[in-house]
C-alpha cells in the first residue's frame, strides 16, 4: 500500500504542526466548549486552551466537529474561525 504524493504532502504538513505534547480527542472534548466561548468572547487563550487550537491542526475530525459545534450554537463560522 503506497500513498500518493498528494497524501504524503498532506502528511508532511501534519508533521509540521506536530507538537511534542498533544492532547488527544477525548481531552479535546472536555475543553472545546471553553475554547469556543473564549473565541466568541475574543478573549486571550490560556495555554490550556491553546492546545485545543494545536489539536485542530493535526486532527481533521475534531476540526469538523468544531465547525459543526459553531453551527449548533448558532454562531457565525467566519467570526469564530477567522483570525
Amino acid at each position: 500500500m503506497k500513498p500518493t504524493d498528494a497524501q504524503l504532502a498532506e502528511l508532511a504538513k501534519l508533521l509540521g504542526d506536530t507538537a511534542d505534547c498533544e492532547i488527544d480527542c477525548a481531552e479535546l472534548l472536555d475543553r472545546v466548549a471553553a475554547y469556543l466561548e473564549a473565541r466568541t468572547d475574543r478573549s486571550a487563550l490560556s495555554p490550556h486552551l491553546a492546545q485545543v487550537a494545536q489539536h485542530f491542526k493535526v486532527c481533521p475530525e475534531c476540526r469538523e466537529e468544531f465547525e459543526a459545534l459553531i453551527r449548533a450554537e448558532g454562531l457565525d463560522p467566519a467570526t469564530i474561525l477567522g483570525e
Binding site: 500513498p3 497524501q7 508532511a12 488527544d24
Partner: protein, 200 residues
Amino acid sequence: MDASAMKDDAWIAGLRAGREDAVAALRDRLRKGLGAALGPRSDVQDTDLDDFTQDAVLQVTSRLDSFRGESKFATWAMAVAVRVALTALRRRRWKRETLDDRLEAMASPDGAPAIETEEVRDQLLAALRASIDEDLTPRQRQVILGELSGIPQVVLAERLGMKTGAIYKATHDARKKLLAALRRKGFDAARVMDVLADET
C-alpha cells in the same frame, strides 16, 4: 423550565436526579443544535437527528463527572452531542468498506497523480515515504496510512481492535518518529512547511 432559565448547577443536579424537566430541557437543546449543525446534510434525516439526540442525552448524563465548569454546561453538552452524531455518521459511511479495501485503494493508479515537482519537494516526499516503510512499527504504519486514506478514527479503532485514544496515541507517536526521521535527513518542521508552502 426551559434550558435558558436553568442554571448550570441546578440543571446538572436535576440530570443526576433523573428529573424529567432537566432531561427534557437537555433533549430539546441538543435536538435544536444538532438540527442546526447537521440538518442541511443530505445524508441526515429527521429520524437520524432524533436518534443522535437520544444517544447524546445518554452520553451527556453518563459523563456529568467530566464537566469541569470551564464553560457553560449547555455548550459542553452540545460538543458531546456533535461528537456522538458525527461518529455515528462516520461509522455509517464506512460500514460497507473493509479496511483492506481502503488501504489497497491507495496503491491504485487512479489515485491523485504525482504533480510535476521541484527537486526539493521530491526529496522531501521520498524521504517521508522511506521513513514510513523503515521507521514505523507495523501498527503505526497501519494507523497513519489508514488516516491518510480517510478512514475515521472510530472505524480504524473498531477494525484494529483498539480504543480511539490508542489510535490517536499511535498516530501522534508515528508523526513524532517521522518528524525526527525527516530532521535527520535535513528537513525540520519549518523547512517542511516552507517546501509545501504553495500547496493547498
